[in-house]
Structure formats: C-alpha cells, structure tokens
C-alpha cells in the first residue's frame, strides 16, 4: 500500500501540467512594468521647415509676406523686431507667442502671410532656438527661415 502511493506521487511529479497561476503572476509583473514605463516615455517630435533659396520659382506673381525678425542673443534673450520679450529664463515665451499670434491674425485679416526670420547668435543655445520654434508653432506660423548672425 505504501509503495503504491509513493509510485503515484512520482508519476504526478513527472507529469508537469500547464500551471495557470504562475503564468498570471508573470503576466501581471510584465503588465505592471510596461504600465510604469508608459508614463515615462519620451516621444520624438519634429519642427519641419524648408531651407530658403531652394524652392522652385513660379511665373505667378507672389505677394510679398510681412517679414518679422526674431533675434536670439547669447544669453537667451529674445527680441521681436528689436523689442525684448520674456526673460531669458522663461522657456515658454508667452509674450513672444502672444505677440506673434496677434501679428498672424492681423496678417490673416489683410490676406497676407507672415514670414519669420530667426537670427540666432553663434553662441545662443539650440534649446532656445527650439523654444522660439515652439512659440511659433503655438502662434500657428509655419513660414520660418534661419539666418546666421545679427540682422545688421
């Protein structure tokens, strides 16, 4: 009698059935991992633009756009047509975005387009240039060109 039960135990040990409980444990752990990771993901976005001087010319008369110059100094101070706006520490540039939005609205009203030229100083940080592009996106201005050095 004893011998038989021992035999049965051995056979049940050999027969490894599919265990649902540990599988759910593992799936839960993986799920938790991805849920936590999902909150922290960085998405790579982009600001698209066209380089000046490379677009195809047409015979159609072209309305000259309203030109706006944005200057970025080495310390991050931003000037809109020589008027300083926002502090160099302010990454969101609310004054710049607001002014640009007004300019865009007035241009839309007069059925012309706005062309913004960014003059970034040699040592200005690229992060600041992107912040200006971000403000331009908020103001819904897509006509942007770049120029090295100061406007003078």
């Amino acid at each position: 009698m004893k011998k038989r039960s021992h035999k049965r135990k051995q056979s049940s040990e050999v027969n490894l059935g599919f265990q649902i409980a540990p599988m759910i444990d593992v799936v839960f752990v993986i799920l938790l991992y991805f849920m936590v990771m999902a909150g922290d993901i960085q998405i790579e976005n982009a600001h698209n633009t066209k380089l000046p001087g490379t677009t195809e010319s047409t015979d159609q008369p072209v309305n000259l756009p309203d030109e706006i110059a944005i200057r970025i100094e080495d310390d991050g101070q931003v000037y809109l047509n020589d008027d300083p706006l926002d502090s160099p520490e302010n990454a969101k540039l609310p004054e710049l975005a607001g002014s640009l939005n007004q300019l865009r609205e007035s241009s839309d009203a007069s059925k012309s387009t706005v062309l913004v030229t960014i003059y970034a100083n040699e040592l200005a940080k690229y992060q600041r240039v992107i912040e200006v592009l971000d403000a331009l996106t908020r103001a819904k201005i897509s006509n942007v060109t770049f120029q090295a050095g100061s406007p003078d």
Binding site: Q42, L51, K125, I130
Partner: protein, 144 residues
C-alpha cells in the same frame, strides 16, 4: 459553460479564461505604446524639449535621414555623428548628402542636435544640407 459548475442560484464563479484574454490585450497595448514611441536614442545626446512640436509624419519616415549633433562640453562645439560614425571633417558630409539626395528626391534631413549645442553649429550643418540641394529639413525635439 463547461466547468462552470455553479449553475442555478449559486455564487458567480471567477472565470480565468476571459481574465487572461483581457490581461494579454492590456499587455500587448502597453508593449506597443512603449516600444513604438521610444526614441532611437543616441545616448550621448539630449534633445531639446518642445511640447508643441508636431508628430513625425509617418509617410515621410522612409525618406528621413538623421544627422546627429552631440555637444562637446570642453570645446563647446558640435560633434557630428552620422550612422554611428563620428565625422571629424564636416566637409566630408557634403558629397555624402549629395549622394543621398540623388538616391532619394524626397529626402528629408532630421537634425537631431543636443539642446546645449550652440546655434552657430546648427547653422553650419544647415549650410551643408542646403549646399547638398536638400530643402526639406526638420528639427527633432523631445516632448518632455
């Protein structure tokens, strides 16, 4: 359902199969959103932050070509990296970009530069891109 066993007025039984279905769907969802959106990061490069930048155009994905610009803290200059290869001489990039443009007329160059890189260095690489006859350019930025 077979194996339900309860029947009648008995307590509702916990069903394992639908729970696994739901779990797997959730798992696949989170795997997809994390793996699809994670940056193909050059670890030595911190992209500038721009919450309002547009999502990358998926139709243009096959026409995109990345130019990485790391920041060298000591010299305050950009280090140009293309296809994991550091380009010491930036002039070598011009024929390379011209070849790329010849092969793909719709080529878009994605400038992936560190946020600390001076703007002058961005202008330098933009000059090369322009000289290669490429007009479509985009500046990569991180959402946060």
């Amino acid at each position: 359902m077979a194996g339900g066993g309860g029947g009648g007025d008995g307590e509702p039984e916990f069903q394992i199969a639908p729970m696994i279905d739901v779990l797997l769907v959730l798992l696949v969802f989170f795997v997809m959103i994390t793996s699809a959106e994670v940056l193909k990061v050059d670890k030595k490069l911190t992209l500038p932050v721009s919450p309002n930048a547009k999502e990358r155009d998926k139709d243009m994905a096959k026409h995109e070509f990345a130019v990485n610009l790391r920041w060298d803290k000591d010299t305050n200059k950009g280090v140009l990296v293309i296809d994991d290869d550091i380009k010491q001489n930036w002039d070598d990039v011009l024929p390379f970009l011209q070849e790329k443009k010849k092969a793909d007329k719709k080529l878009r160059v994605v400038v992936r530069a560190d946020g600390n890189v001076p703007a002058g260095e961005i202008q330098r690489i933009m000059n090369f891109i322009g000289m290669a006859g490429i007009d479509d350019i985009s500046f990569a930025a991180s959402n946060k």
